[in-house]
Subunit: 420 residues, 2 copies
Amino acid sequence: MRLFILGGDGFVGWPTSLHLSAQGHEVVIIDNLSRRHIDVELKVESLTPIASPAERCRAWREATGKTIHWETLDVASEYSRLVELLHAWKPDAVIDFAQQRAAPYSMKTPRLKRYTVNNNVSTTHNLLCALVDAEVDAHVVHLGTMGVYGYSDTGSAIPEGYLNVEVQGGDGQRRSVDILHPTNPGSIYHATKCIDQILFAFYAKNDGMRITDLHQGIVWGTQTRETALDPRLVNRFDYDGDYGTVLNRFLVQAALGYPLTVHGTGGQTRAFIHISDTVRCIELALRHAPRRGERVKIFNQATETHRVRELAHLVHRQTGCPIDYVHNPRNEAVENDLAVINEQFLALGLNPVRLHEGLMQEVLDTVVRFKERIRRERIPCVSAWTRAHDTQLSLPPAIDDALVKQPKLDALSCIGELAS
Amino acid sequence: MRLFILGGDGFVGWPTSLHLSAQGHEVVIIDNLSRRHIDVELKVESLTPIASPAERCRAWREATGKTIHWETLDVASEYSRLVELLHAWKPDAVIDFAQQRAAPYSMKTPRLKRYTVNNNVSTTHNLLCALVDAEVDAHVVHLGTMGVYGYSDTGSAIPEGYLNVEVQGGDGQRRSVDILHPTNPGSIYHATKCIDQILFAFYAKNDGMRITDLHQGIVWGTQTRETALDPRLVNRFDYDGDYGTVLNRFLVQAALGYPLTVHGTGGQTRAFIHISDTVRCIELALRHAPRRGERVKIFNQATETHRVRELAHLVHRQTGCPIDYVHNPRNEAVENDLAVINEQFLALGLNPVRLHEGLMQEVLDTVVRFKERIRRERIPCVSAWTRAHDTQLSLPPAIDDALVKQPKLDALSCIGELAS
């Protein structure tokens, strides 16, 4: 297949591009490099020293003999050029990662709330509009988020996109219908993914567009088989309070002896997936496109759920790193249960990588290798969901290295047995 | 109350501004004059010769001694100035009409699809973001549309915003919950109103914002008590294929002897409201704001439902104007039933103006007065929902005046009795 990968320079986009190129697909990355610009803005870089786009493509060619094409383009603002590229390449599928994807960043300032809405909505809508405009019948595969469902305890497992309900009919009889699962976004970022769903449903209905939306859990890990082939192919690794996902951030904190910052009680249950499963899921979704005229196909792209404080305890037990319960900057339920149905990917053959299978060690190895690059003052999340939360936020803790118990990294190799 | 009225120059915004000023509220109109620009773009003007903003305000002062303030501002792009105005005026409520509101216009070209999404989403989000930013605790009253629900026949009356459903709990028991009614937008324009709902729900939950969303039916009529006070206060009247609403368009066609163009079978049932009820509903909504922390308050702002072909037959019987069944440019159900619950406004004291109460004559009087201004080639809707619909669209019919039976306008004064 010929594939456009929007946002192919990012944390999930890059390993996906390599994986699909390795599978023999013709890959065209389209990226505006916004994530690299945000690194500069936030004064924190990827823990791993990621190579330039040109160097990444060169390294891939040298390692595998395969070519990845690259177009620097802002999908949110360069509509005409997007249409030109669709005409020129006529892709079979477009995989869309081109969105601002950090919840804390989306809540940080009015400017960033507005940037997130404008960028994410315009990107999604420009893509859909351009496909109709260019008359390209490509399958759209979009990265959504489990966060569209909200995390309130409904007492039952979250179905894959559609919820079966009974409603009262005009004749007084109750009847059963499938509806798009009601949304309950927890941040502006999450709200944009709910908005995407509305646009997808409309274009699927009105234009017969074939669309798959992948409601992904929190990604952890960093390397995949392909990114490990050459140091210049290394994937980005975010550990800061805005872009660092919770487990990755704990592992960085452990490696530094920086107390594991748990928000609130840590009673939040979240869904997780390892980066190498993410790329496999996207491959499976590509192979199983909906038919023209079919409703949007929605997968829950998550393999397990964990309570945040349990993850902290797990890392604490292995490394000795203490836990610091800090005020939660998010406006959310203190504790929640969460169960997620992910039958579709399992049925398609996904064999999930679990948290306890030793991959935490690989992450720690990466952290230790690049430890000198860490800016520890960027680790806490200082993005407040409301003004009231802001005033309660503690400042980044001052760390006295002498008082912090040094992490016992060696012990982590046995984490698999302990956690299982 | 001190009120900001965004889009206060428009078809609903202007009579609402006058009505609320007449009630003693301090009114600040904020408008970017986009609707007047679209007149130029579409090469068709309001049937009624609307005065300039300055002249409108002057006439209002002369007629009533009251002042309406006016700020020309694009809410979608001039965020900083919006925040400044909120700081300066500290309004008690903001009424938001500042949206591109024509479904056919929103489907006309890729450029207009994108304009509608960008303009409408940015306006809504900028307003919400600015209110939090400026720390102004204003009640937001927004004009939504009945179109968010879709018009598919669910067999039961459409509730006001929230649908009671039974879902399967984790324990196997079914339980009853209220959810935001599932959306099924019929155009890009309607999709933006569904998107608004997501943003409103988020800001109500996260920031405790007090928001009322009014899901309005199709407005008919043109004048209210206040717009009739002076010719310079006249409200705009759209009759073209993009902005003209169905009943107003039929009345213009009848006055011209231009066959009444019914899309498809005319079996579409729609909800209607007269312009003077619209302004009263907004006044009622203002007086009954939700409490801080309460969910978004949603009203169905419609007073009656009619099948489109029944409206055409009604106008035909009175005027003799023939009916022309043309290809439907919209991608929608051929026939649908529709029942709408509007108990909330009735409970608050709304005494609806019905279609059969003689107001059609007033509209016809207006049309006849300004008949010379009509550009008949702009009457048909030539905006196609998909390319397939485009190729089936008939061109604007050539009209031979000699063949068209002249409308019997006098007969319309008895339409009330006949239709009841």
